[in-house]
């Protein structure tokens, strides 16, 4: 069979029909489901934000009522960390909803390359994690200010555990990234280079 014949025949392939679960029009059913999935994503994001707003209010209340500067600094850092979660969550939500799929394929590849970078999201997580940790350390130290020797050991052990956890995550994350994402970045770079030269 010639290429042209195959192309002509392939045109007979039609899109599948929607599952008939109700008496509604198939397209109405589809838009209803899309709206629902949109709504669920928005709900999930908003729930998380409300939770962190409540936390921010609680930290602010503790800043006002705390009777020493170490606690105030600690709760201040926790407030900043919670704000960062809200901000990151908002960015993430907008990024998922922004139609960056409508840009040209070349721009899309450039954007994808940026998103695939190893530290793209991790830098946020690590920074927020470190801030929560620092804030908690300040609060604990302030609460035990008269008996440092009791808490200093557990705090240091906790830091060690956290450092090991972050290192392990980074190590395995990097290994996975190198195997799955890096080849894609290389391929995208190759394509972009090819286009540049053409």
């Amino acid at each position: 069979m010639k290429l042209e014949e195959i192309i002509t025949k392939s045109k007979e392939v039609k899109a599948p029909m929607l599952k008939k679960e109700s008496n509604s029009e198939p397209l109405k059913l589809l838009t209803d489901r899309l709206k629902k999935s949109d709504r669920n994503a928005r709900k999930h994001s908003r729930r998380l934000q409300v939770l962190y707003i409540v936390m921010v209010l609680f930290w602010i209340f503790r800043i006002i009522t705390a009777n020493n500067y170490l606690s105030k600094i600690g709760f201040g850092i926790l407030t900043v960390a919670s704000f960062m979660v809200i901000f990151y969550n908002q960015l993430h939500y907008e990024r998922n909803n922004r139609s960056y799929f409508a840009i040209s394929n070349i721009d899309f590849l450039k954007e994808t390359k940026k998103r695939l970078k190893f530290l793209a999201n991790r830098i946020w997580y690590i920074f927020i994690w470190a801030l929560f940790d620092l804030g908690l350390c300040f609060v604990i130290v302030a609460d035990f200010s008269h008996r440092y020797s009791i808490v200093i050991g557990p705090i240091l052990i906790m830091q060690l555990i956290l450092a090991i956890a972050i290192s392990v995550e980074l190590y395995f994350g990097y290994k996975k990234w190198k195997k799955t994402r890096k080849p894609l970045i290389t391929e995208i770079e190759h394509i972009l280079q090819e286009i540049k030269e053409a």
């Binding site: 409508a102 040209s104 590849l109 394509i191």
Partner: protein, 170 residues
């Protein structure tokens, strides 16, 4: 934020777009993945992305250019992920009586997909649009490549496809 009137307009526009372009979108999806379930997942994702972006479409390009951009970019993102997502399936095969003939028709598109998948990614993008009779000028708008570059690639990719398909037959 979409208000009720906007939502109604968007729904109508979306319905029109899907009705007019669904087969083309589906066939383009077929060129990027071979597995039937994956094709359906990808098709579903394309529709999702069209839905998400519809209220931001301002008519800077033609609606078909916009749709094909979303289709190809969604396919690229799908290929990049390379994993099956556990989504609720929206689609099912056309009823049993049509099943056999549908499978037969799929032979051709499977054959094309197999050949297209052997092309470099950029040629794959271009040829998937050529196969759906998208004009060269529109392909330049969709891909962001120059007209000359697109023409050269079309010619080259078609030759490779011919060799693969007609070579296979002989």
């Amino acid at each position: 934020m979409r208000n009720k009137l906007d939502l109604k307009n968007i729904e109508t526009r979306f319905a029109n777009i899907v009705e007019e372009n669904k087969d083309k979108i589906y066939r383009i999806c077929c060129y990027y993945v071979s597995d039937d379930d994956e094709v359906k997942d990808l098709y579903q994702e394309v529709l999702m992305n069209i839905w998400k972006g519809l209220d931001k479409f301002r008519g800077d390009s033609s609606i078909t250019t916009w749709i094909f951009r979303i289709t190809v970019n969604s396919a690229l993102a799908f290929l990049a992920r390379q994993k099956k997502s556990k989504k609720v399936a929206l689609f099912e095969d056309i009823i049993n009586s049509e099943q056999k003939s549908r499978k037969d028709r799929h032979k051709e598109i499977n054959q094309l997909q197999k050949a297209v998948s052997q092309l470099p990614l950029l040629d794959m993008i271009i040829i998937s649009l050529v196969l759906e009779e998208v004009r060269t000028k529109e392909i330049t708008n969709i891909t962001g490549l120059t007209g000359g570059n697109v023409r050269v690639r079309i010619h080259r990719a078609k030759e490779v496809l011919r060799k693969i398909i007609e070579g296979e037959k002989s």
